[in-house]
Symmetry: C2
Subunit: 316 residues, 2 copies
Amino acid sequence: MAGEFEFIARYAPKGAKRSDVILGSGDDAALVQVPAGKSLVSTVDTLVSGRHFPVQTSAYDIGWKALAVNLSDIAAMGAEAAWVTVALTMPSETADKDGWMSAFCNGIDDLAKQCGVAVIGGDLTSGPLSVTIQAMGFVEASKALRRDTAQVGDVIAVSGNLGDAALALHLLQSAVDVPAELLERLDKPLPRLALGQSLAGMAHAALDISDGLVGDLEHMLKASGTGARINVAAIPRSAAFQAHCPATLFDSLPLTGGDDYELCVTLPKNALVEGLTVIGEIEAEAGCRLLDAGGQAVKLDSSSFDHFKSAAHDCR
Amino acid sequence: MAGEFEFIARYAPKGAKRSDVILGSGDDAALVQVPAGKSLVSTVDTLVSGRHFPVQTSAYDIGWKALAVNLSDIAAMGAEAAWVTVALTMPSETADKDGWMSAFCNGIDDLAKQCGVAVIGGDLTSGPLSVTIQAMGFVEASKALRRDTAQVGDVIAVSGNLGDAALALHLLQSAVDVPAELLERLDKPLPRLALGQSLAGMAHAALDISDGLVGDLEHMLKASGTGARINVAAIPRSAAFQAHCPATLFDSLPLTGGDDYELCVTLPKNALVEGLTVIGEIEAEAGCRLLDAGGQAVKLDSSSFDHFKSAAHDCR
């Protein structure tokens, strides 16, 4: 088996070529240039096998998803994604498996190139499988999308459809065949980078929906000192979701399932943007009121996807 | 047990206060300002329990060391360390243990404050214990210390003493009492940030010695297209090292033991700096020649600390 250095030189994904990378992988640290007038945006997320992705997830999809969830945070700031570092911990026996490593790196490389992101550093250690990616980008500080700036009277809107990934996971765990379009949403989410950038300086507040709409929205409401009313029937659900979702989960998966990586934003009423669906309104009264089409409260059992509180979303 | 968000709010270390942090932890990503005229330096390293630190290492020391090894990479670039993110994966049962988390965070917080570094983000996941830290800083790009720019005729110098940490680990594994000053060097290394900054724009090349002098130096020589001659007797060893090191390991631990986190730099002959000890010279002929006081070749069994090649340094 190759040593670590050989290994990194052989497989390391490079992502997109960027002229602002002065020194990439291979030194003690990378050196990059943030454009004048922009501030650095930085985020980190770890994905643990069996926890953040099912153990049977392909190496390619693990690489893709680990990058996607981090780029989604950059999108939620309204920033341009630019550079990432990848820290992979894996069992030696997996590293030996033909193709695992190159498939993993291809998953990262393909999404990185698609998003114009350069991979500027990495670390490889032996241990139980997990991936930690740090994503960096930049935005004019005054235009950055924050979560603590929602205003009473704003409409609340989301990108794409919610609940697909959570439904795919539910079907997987029920040993039911999962339609490809749902599985794709679980394994290969697409960060909403272009949309995020188009909202910078315009949306009042934003975050990405990784832990479930209700839980994530509650963070925004708390940070902004506001409340909200959500029209549950207005939440966009894909055709595949509508066709395959059990009635008992029709509301709870989009509301609390998580793993959507769509953006949830608040906007002035007259500032609507293509690609967004209005699902509610920011109100002065604290708390999040979930209402059905008739204006009656929708009750839910659990709130947000919390790795240390709930095992409901555990992939094992 | 507290949920993840409560948990983070309660324990998250903040490190130093910095006026260039526009938005710290708590949003999708942090927002910071790189000074005009400086480039961003970024590095990442993962520490896995039983692999990069002995399983009996205290929570405080794990936090300290995970930060120190990353700041050491920033030091080796000649940069000012500014911001870090911390991704912690830990078993739920450890998180429950009274005091573990707060001790871990104190270890990070104390070193971060000492180094003027702000903690701007974090992630907490449940799984086998490992810590991934991303460290960021800045430097004038033309003054950054690289490893591919050593010049024939340069002297090679190192900071501090080498071999202490490797000796401490050897004694631990031999179930021998470890002198406190050696254990401190294993568990609580000090990144050479001030020294690195003082060398920026002056040293021709630099790297930090994490994997062992010979292995790390070979990366520099290869990248620079040069070779080197090392006077093994000139390598600085601490009094504690000299008093406690078995004769058979007297050369090999400083040369290949790793975990030193000292700087190895090359300089013009007339540009010596306080705190450095000259141990050799850059030569045109490829390869690294290790010579004893009499000019005879010193033979070694192993080369560098490579997580995927050798189990010799495994802490389990």
